[in-house]
């Protein structure tokens, strides 16, 4: 018997529903963009005469960097698709009735969740073969594909947890009602449980996507030609001029911000929307 209490403070945390980013509008993003441009200007002041200004240099390289950034997005989308597919299966494994499946799914999930993304990326990079033989065909395993696989490992683990969490968060009455109506377990899962889970899973899933997108730059550490690698190469080509670093890295920051910020806003919006309905 619980005493009556008006102390939601002690109840499980509800997602707070106040304005997510109070007073932050597109004009503030503009301000951010401005800072990214001021960076080069500050740098310009230090540039020795007789050289192109950092801003010009950056503009010269911008198209290439943008191409690299698009490659990042391709990596992120592929890794997300791949990780989600496997993670969903793993997540369902975690709620399986077969103890062995459940425990092994749980272990795999925990293992890859506890491992740092970067370590997993190294893991995929160095331990996957350069090519695999399938029925006599040699399928090459280029670096970018390995990067996708490496990044989809943690995505998989996190999706698995998201699925499990969403299924767990449904009241057990839903399972019981379906059971008492003679649904099979499969039917219950596909017709009753999962459709209700999708809504609950969407916000954390998008959050995960955002995190993944930002993790694609890790691929630079293992040498995939994405935006950070290109930035490094561009800086090397410009002779490692230190005053170029701020504008170049600032530019990369800006690219990601422009892509990820709307996703974050949308996620918060979704969260609020579903919080009201449920």
């Amino acid at each position: 018997m619980k005493y009556e209490t008006d102390l939601p403070v002690m109840l499980p945390l509800k997602r707070h529903q106040s304005a997510p980013f109070p007073g932050l509008k597109s004009k503030h993003i503009l301000a951010v963009a401005l800072i990214a441009i001021i960076g080069p200007c500050v740098a310009f002041a230090q540039a020795p005469s007789g050289q192109e200004s950092p801003l010009t240099v950056l503009l010269n390289w911008a198209p290439l960097l943008l191409k690299g950034f698009i490659f990042n997005l391709i990596i992120s989308i592929s890794a997300m698709a791949f990780g989600t597919a496997i993670g969903a299966i793993l997540g369902l494994g975690q709620i399986s009735l077969i103890a062995a499946t459940r425990h092994s799914s749980w272990f795999v999930t925990q293992f890859f969740r506890n491992a740092p993304w970067l370590v997993l990326l190294f893991f995929a990079m160095f331990l996957l073969p350069f090519e695999i033989n399938v029925l006599g065909f040699k399928i090459p395993f280029p670096d970018w594909l390995k990067a996708i696989l490496g990044l989809s490992l943690p995505v998989m683990a996190n999706v698995s947890e998201i699925v499990r969490g969403a299924v767990r968060s449904l009241p057990s009455g839903q399972w019981e009602a379906a059971e008492s109506l003679a649904y099979t377990r499969m039917q219950t899962l596909w017709l009753i449980i999962l459709p209700q889970c999708v809504k609950r899973m969407l916000p954390p899933w998008m959050n995960l996507y955002s995190i993944l997108t930002m993790a694609t730059v890790l691929a630079s550490i293992v040498g995939v030609s994405e935006v950070m690698t290109l930035t490094g190469q561009a800086l090397a080509s410009e002779g490692g001029r230190p005053e170029l670093l701020a504008p170049f890295y600032g530019f990369v920051l800006l690219l990601f911000f422009i892509y990820c910020y709307p996703i974050a806003r949308f996620t918060v919006w979704l969260e609020k929307k579903y919080a009201v309905i449920n």
Binding site: L13, H16, P22, H28, V32, S210, M214, V217, F256
Partner: protein
């Protein structure tokens, strides 16, 4: 101890499984240093990111529009850009703009080294999440409880310190722990600016010994254990912090 080392040396000779950090003193010291650096970096970042979270959440609740804006911009900037790029930006871009100090080998070196920048950058990164976490906790504290404190004559600061924060803290502990675990995993990024943490040292060892597989497996296990210890510690803490009679 020597026997264990010997055993691993024999293991290498006989099976080719090469774990030099277990028998080679030079590599062992590197690995131990790496482990300690990882732990040290994690602790420093944990500490500062929580401080940033607390102060940020407080500022975000302030009545000045501009402090709130400032905190929001900070959060959004750090949440929506890759921590690795942040790290580069801090270390290379900001680092070179700051004044220098004379160092012991007679050169001019920046006031902050790579460890310091990793600590700063990662603390700000995790701090951005902590601000939001604490904020949501503070909002979960019923207004009436705060009013009760007000009616008892508590000052604003006292209320924040004695009532709001301790309550909010308990509410957000699960979310906070989750973020802190992520932070520990994120310390591997410091590798990119040559902070000699575990991944960096492992990389050095596999470059020298060409034993990527062994080192990789070891690294995964090491982080699994490290994070596992952290998680179980956090869970224990969560249980200890639970207020009798609730939840």
């Amino acid at each position: 101890m020597e026997m264990v080392y010997e055993w691993f040396r024999t293991l290498y000779q006989e099976t080719g499984i090469n774990l030099p950090f277990l028998y080679d003193e030079y590599d062992r010291n590197r690995m131990i240093d790496g482990l300690f650096t990882t732990i040290k970096l994690s602790l420093v970042c944990l500490f500062f990111s929580i401080i940033i979270g607390v102060i940020g959440a407080w500022l975000q609740g302030s009545s000045f529009k501009w402090t709130r804006r400032f905190v929001s911009v900070y959060i959004q900037l750090f949440r929506n850009t890759p921590p690795l790029v942040q790290l580069y930006f801090f270390y290379f871009a900001i680092g070179t703009l700051l004044p220098r100090v004379e160092n012991d080998w007679g050169g001019q070196s920046p006031i902050f080294g790579s460890f310091a920048w990793a600590a700063i950058s990662l603390s700000f990164f995790a701090g951005a999440f902590n601000v939001e976490i604490f904020r949501s906790g503070i909002e979960a504290v019923p207004k009436s409880t705060v009013e009760a404190a007000e009616a008892l004559g508590f000052s604003k600061l006292q209320i924040y310190r004695d009532i709001t924060l301790p309550l909010a803290f308990r509410v957000v502990l699960p979310a906070l722990n989750n973020n802190l675990v992520n932070l520990v995993k994120t310390t591997t990024l410091a590798y990119a600016i040559a902070v000699p943490e575990m991944l960096y040292e492992a990389n050095q060892i596999w470059s020298d010994n060409v034993n990527v597989t062994e080192m990789m497996v070891f690294l995964l296990l090491a982080y699994f254990v490290l994070v596992g210890i952290l998680v179980s510690g956090m869970n224990r803490w969560e249980r200890a912090m639970k207020i009798p009679g609730y939840g």
